[in-house]
Symmetry: C2
Subunit: 462 residues, 2 copies
């Protein structure tokens, strides 16, 4: 068997899979002010209507526009790869496959949704898209996508990253985006914060607020905002990962994986790989599906299932999700993409149903796993991806104990070439593990007690 | 036609192509002290004998060991890609194909030779390999390869890069290599330099001297030195690039390219893509073959064809090559891999014969080309690669003028994700072009006048 299982362009999936069509109990609707479900029209100043339609759709299969596919072909179908060297190192009977999302121009899975989002905005007559970015993965993906469609792109980048990690910013600039440090003096909210706290390092919450403010205050109505994870349409766009992987496993005679693993910050990489397999599980297949998060930011494993805001500044509607509370500030672990207080509502509903079983790891164990990976498979993974690798190694060793030839599939969400400082910190012994104290957790989730409560009804038998 | 033309593992070339078998006049032998041709045994303290045998071989096809192929499979066969978006942007009738060498773990073509070199050293019972590196492309490739075979790797990295570009160094450390700043206090030569010039930024010449000194002074005889370009065996190992590309063009019905382009510093990337096509040209095919170098370091276009040392400190034998003189110090352009005073003897002999026609570009034009590339094809290329892209764009525009549907093939030697500071310098207007003044050229080549002269005999009709 080749270590790379390659799909031709003509075999790329032509439709995305929408898990909302198959969940035993539907995802609970977002709530607006006063706890009332919000209608699509309330989101119209923020997102174009074609994206809002996808956000609320319960149609099972949604066509991928030809114009989107033509850009995805630049790196898709992405390779499915067999980690034979890791298998040998672990002496495991398990077969380890990984879906390699590191081959896109920005180096992660993020453009899978950035490209369709840019496309739908373009079709809706929008001229400019605003967004926020932390370490820069999402900002660079949207910059790339906007450039392909000739749209303006404005990225509010958390100031501390803007100053300390200049390389992602340069990538955005190469693709023609305007990347500014947040808080900036370009929005009312940014100016207010700068006045109150001139030396603030910024935060994702502040950056989101600035990006939304710029979008909704464009008098010409030609600017919209874009989000890189959490929302239903983002999960939808990412399902191309799992749909491709399913075809590729079939190419080598594997009907189904036994275990599916992905790292989860906002949830889009995990959802992208796993949702097509969650569908199979709903239909009776026996598959263990594991989203992996850091112990320093344990929304799924220790958070509450509650209605909460998606951002720190409470500008977004309330979403039904596992959350640590919207004011939660995680410790500065290196997996920046996993430092989010909440989790995608679709992923959370799958957890409520028992369809997926989350797990949390400490970052030292994750870096150890990343080092084993680099020394066996040769590639250097992103710190987020190392969480999926840590779980994969654990499952492969368990298969060895049990003497079972399990098929493990995980998502290789991105390469770590822009994140080498984390490896340096690990190699020089500067990294620490952070276990969130119970008292801190209690404090950060106290914010939820006056908000509406979502139903935890579960009908499945998983 | 798919934009990616993919080859299965089973179709990977099983032999390397050795141009030395087909050149009308042979490459002229390296000369030792006193101007006498040196025998293989004189190189034995530096390289293992199996590599020396390849270095002097005139056998046309040389088997690639199974153990080498098994590691190359991690990223090879590499994709051949069609640059349809660039074609459209240029409105050219030319078909532009590029062989994508950016998909290896270190991100360039360098491991194509690092892996076999590590293998042959391992087979010869060597325990440790030393080398030098400038910006770190080669050092990281050798670190990766040594790690795969369980060999120790020691990299002398030019101090200014060691201090200013820490990321390649971290890559090497992830793969278990010992990377030290050169000059170091670990060799006699390094200590001497440090005493004389404690604040020196270092140079490739010094680093080579340190690496060779460590190799030859290992009393146990278990250490050897490795070079990442210039020598015949390195060109040989890189021909897998062109051999794969040839098969891939045939897969889409193209019998031969009209134009083949590669950037050339020491020559290995250019040779790797082009030598299989140079063979076709020797056998009568009409192909234009173009190595591209920077105007700031114009060894092929303005240097002399002469016997010269491969290093600044005159530790290597004399090689027959186009050279600017071994003491030449190029201006600090961003394409660090193209800042070499000489050129691979095999490439130079092909120039003498008229088989390949070198060309030089200024760096601003190259960065302009890299920006066009990033905005059309989406990927961010290495500064070295941008030289090949600049020539490709020129040739595609010429084909447009002529109204000819030419097939252009170029080598995409590596990605630029570790080189974003060069893009930043370009975007902020800080980059300059350097034209080497005639007087400086005359001064730097004066060093050659007392050295033996190689023959410039030419029998071909190209």
């Amino acid at each position: 068997m080749d270590v790379k299982i390659l799909l031709n362009e003509k075999d790329i999936p032509k439709q995305w899979y929408n898990l909302a069509a198959d969940l035993p109990n539907p995802v609970q609707p977002p709530l607006g002010p006063g706890g009332k479900p919000i209608g699509p029209e309330m989101l119209a100043p923020v997102f174009p209507m074609n994206i809002i339609e996808q956000e609320v759709s319960t149609q099972r299969w949604i066509d991928i526009p030809k114009e989107v596919l033509e850009i995805l072909y630049q790196w898709r179908p992405a390779p499915l790869r067999r980690a034979t060297r890791l298998e040998k190192y672990l002496k495991t009977p398990a077969k380890i496959f990984y879906k390699d999302e590191s081959t896109s121009p920005p180096g992660s899975h993020k453009p899978n949704t950035a490209v369709p989002q840019a496309y739908y905005n373009k079709v809706a007559g929008i001229k400019k898209i605003t967004t926020e970015t932390g370490a820069g993965q999402w900002g660079s993906a949207l910059a790339y996508a906007c450039n392909q469609f000739g749209l303006e792109c404005k990225v509010y980048m958390v100031r501390i990253s803007f100053d300390q990690k200049p390389f992602r910013k340069i990538m955005m600039q190469v693709w023609g985006a305007n990347c500014v440090a947040s808080p900036s003096n370009q929005t009312n909210f940014g100016r207010k914060i700068l006045k109150e706290m001139p030396n603030t390092p910024g935060s994702l919450g502040i950056a989101i607020s600035e990006a939304i403010e710029e979008a909704v205050s464009d008098k010409a109505g030609e600017t919209r905002y874009s989000l890189g994870s959490v929302l239903n349409h983002v999960m939808l766009h990412q399902t191309i990962i799992g749909l491709e992987a399913k075809k590729q496993l079939q190419m080598v005679g594997i009907k189904k994986p036994d275990i599916v693993i992905g790292c989860a910050g906002g949830g889009s990489n995990f959802a992208g790989l796993s949702f097509p397999f969650v569908q199979d599980k709903i239909n009776g297949a026996n598959i263990e599906i594991i989203p992996v998060e850091p112990k320093a930011c344990p929304s799924m494993t220790r958070g509450e299932f509650a209605y909460d805001h998606g951002d720190t500044a409470c500008m977004t509607p309330l979403l039904a999700m596992y959350t640590l509370g919207h004011a939660f500030m995680p410790e500065p672990i290196h997996a920046g993409g996993l430092r989010y207080h909440g989790m995608a509502p679709l992923v959370c509903q799958a957890i409520v149903e028992g369809l997926v079983k989350p797990r949390a790891y400490h970052q030292l164990k994750c870096y150890e796993s990343a080092m084993i990976w680099a020394k066996t498979e040769g590639f250097i993974c992103a710190p987020e991806t190392s969480h999926a690798i840590a779980a994969t190694i654990d499952e492969a060793l368990k298969a060895k104990e049990e003497g079972k030839e399990k098929v493990i599939l995980f998502s290789y969400s991105g390469h770590g070439l822009m994140d080498l400082s984390g490896y340096d910190a690990y190699l020089t012994g500067k990294l620490k593990d952070y276990e969130l104290p119970d008292a801190d957790l209690k404090k950060s989730t106290a914010i939820l007690k006056d908000l509406p409560k979502p139903s935890t009804k579960k009908t499945g038998k998983w």
